[in-house]
């Protein structure tokens, strides 16, 4: 461990990726071996689900690696594109009307690029109020100018919400890469990695726990598997992993534990909330195995990150009194 600390930041990050992809390769190799065995239908279905989740992890690992490789500009562009695709999917699920056209144009072609430009420039102060303050006012004004009062509140709330989740939330992921911690410059990748790992762990642990526990679901009509205890277990698992990973972060072990719990817990709650949204929109399958809107299911993948990233980012900034 001591030798590792003397390495340069770049070397440490490189080691991180070697370990990450090595572990993924091992798991995938194991999955291939398991898939050779004959199984009953139930086990087959379970394996299919696992294989799908594993693919998603691969995709996110590659995205993460690309984000690091391409530097601040590349990372911003990459997450900007993800934001665009996620928002596109979210808007597809909404019941927008003709009068929303201008507001949507504003959201897609002005707000989204501007927010990411602010990230790339590290204007963290403006970045954290741009959407909640300025865009919050601008969108309903444009909608009102379009002159369509029908379901005005509902439509505007929908657009606001989509922008908050898909643009504001997700833009905090590249912001983490650029957040300057005193004394640990160039290690933003570790923070993002930490966030993604704990969010994913919380998600997986919660899923496993709810399958094992078979508790009464809190909200049966939204998610048949979500229960309070499963959520606590997921958050706890995230916290433990966070504490175990404290050495890659600027935190001390206790701080890492709390931060991981915050990120993991908000990620799984965000996922839960998005399930409610999809139910409302009439999409019955999570992950879009059968596509109703033609949506590709990207939103499902980034949902935990959309909620975990801003909470995590602002917790870190507030607690450590970081100035841009």
């Amino acid at each position: 461990m001591g030798a590792l600390r003397s390495w340069s930041a770049d070397q440490q990050v490189a080691l991180l990726f070697v370990v990450l992809f090595g572990a993924l390769l091992l798991v995938s190799g194991g999955a291939v071996l398991v898939s050779l065995r004959e199984r009953a239908d139930a086990a087959e279905a379970r394996h299919q689900r696992f294989a799908r989740d594993l693919r998603a992890v691969w995709v996110s690992a590659v995205v993460f690696w690309l984000a690091w490789m391409s530097g601040p500009v590349g990372a911003t562009l990459l997450f900007g594109t993800l934001s665009f695709l996620a928002l596109r999917e979210m808007v597809t699920l909404m019941k927008t009307r003709r009068g929303d056209h201008r507001s949507l144009l504003l959201a897609f072609f002005a707000v989204l690029p501007l927010q990411y430009v602010l990230v790339a420039n590290r204007n963290f102060d403006l970045f954290s109020v741009f959407i909640p303050v300025y865009v919050f006012l601008a969108i309903p004004v444009l909608s009102a100018l379009a002159g369509d009062p029908e379901r005005f509140l509902e439509r505007n709330a929908g657009i606001q919400w989509g922008v908050m989740v898909c643009v504001y939330g997700l833009s905090h992921a590249p912001a983490l890469l650029l957040l300057a911690f005193p004394g640990v410059d160039g290690r933003g990748a570790f923070l993002l990695f930490f966030l993604v790992m704990v969010a994913a762990t919380a998600q997986i642990a919660q899923e496993l726990a709810s399958r094992r526990l078979r508790r009464r679901p809190v909200a049966r009509h939204i998610d048949r598997s979500f229960s309070g205890r499963a959520w606590l277990l997921g958050t706890g698992a995230a916290a433990l992993l966070g504490a175990a990973l404290y050495w890659i972060t600027p935190f001390k072990a206790g701080q890492a534990l709390v931060m991981a719990a915050i990120a993991g817990g908000s990620g799984t709650l965000g996922d839960f909330v998005l399930r409610a949204l999809k139910k409302d929109a009439g999409v019955r399958w999570w992950g879009n195995t059968s596509s109703v809107t033609g949506a590709v299911g990207l939103l499902d993948r980034v949902a935990p990150l959309c909620f975990a990233a801003p909470v995590f980012f602002h917790s870190v900034r507030w607690y450590f009194q970081l100035k841009p």
């Binding site: 999917e89 808007v91 003709r98 897609f108 072609f109 059968s290 596509s291 109703v292 809107t293 033609g294």
Partner: protein, 258 residues
């Protein structure tokens, strides 16, 4: 690669970026056969969407219909329809000595596939208007050409009438099973009946619970929508001609358009 090819690829990329332009081949596989695709028409983007949803190999031989006066009025419009889309030009003004279907027939004789919007005009409402008779005449003259119904979903939200910049919203194009001209007592199916059947075949492809629909035209939900798996079967059986009064007909008057 020529400039037109490159421009075509760029256009297809933009269409996919904005709308997804997903092709769902529910009733037939995408194959290099001679076909007439006929679809609902809600927006200027409809053609680009179908075109982008087709596999790249099929795009070169699948041609749209373009109004000659409008699409040759400026060099760019002319270039894009001629070089990129390989459009079939038709005259909108009907002259006595010429059949308006003449250019289409010529294209079909050449072995090309066509995309037509049999409503003849764009309808902003949820359901398509009555079909015009051109489709019927083509079906009679070219029995060997497959008639593929297609439903373009959500596109009216991407670019409502009067707007110029599209909003990114996912759209799908659902392709159904081929339709054939039926026979009744040894006689070929009559025109009105076939056109209603063709329109129903298009409407039947509409995904459940999609898009914004005017409240008046929305059909009452009859129980939970069936899972998509069951809709994959052959959706259009060769319907017995006597059964031609689907509920959708009550919504729109059919007279005066055919």
């Amino acid at each position: 690669m020529s400039r037109a090819d490159a421009f075509g690829l760029l256009l297809a990329f933009i269409a996919r970026l904005i709308t997804g332009a997903q092709g769902h081949w529910k009733g037939c596989p995408p194959k290099a056969e001679q076909r007439i695709y006929f679809a609902n028409h809600q927006s200027h983007l409809d053609w680009v969407l179908i075109w982008a949803a087709l596999p790249r190999e099929l795009r070169a031989t699948t041609r749209p219909i373009a109004a000659k006066d409008y699409w040759t009025s400026s060099p760019f419009k002319h270039w894009i329809t001629r070089e990129v889309f390989n459009a079939v030009y038709v005259n909108r003004q009907r002259s006595d000595d010429q059949d308006p279907l003449e250019p289409l027939i010529e294209a079909l004789h050449n072995g090309d596939s066509l995309v037509i919007f049999p409503e003849g005009t764009r309808s902003a409402q949820g359901l398509p208007q009555a079909f015009k008779s051109g489709l019927y005449h083509l079906a009679r003259q070219f029995p060997q050409v497959q008639l593929i119904p297609a439903w373009i979903d959500n596109v009216q939200r991407v670019m409502p009438k009067g707007e110029v910049v599209p909003v990114p919203i996912l759209c799908t194009v659902t392709f159904g099973a081929p339709l054939t001209l039926g026979e009744l007592d040894g006689q070929p199916e009559d025109k009105a009946h076939f056109l209603v059947r063709a329109r129903d075949a298009v409407v039947a492809l509409r995904p459940p619970g999609s898009g914004e629909r005017p409240a008046a035209a929305a059909p009452p939900p009859a129980g939970p929508p069936p899972p998509p798996a069951t809709r994959r079967g052959p959706p259009e059986p060769s319907a017995p001609p006597a059964l031609a009064s689907p509920p959708v007909q009550a919504v729109l008057p059919l007279d005066g358009h055919a």
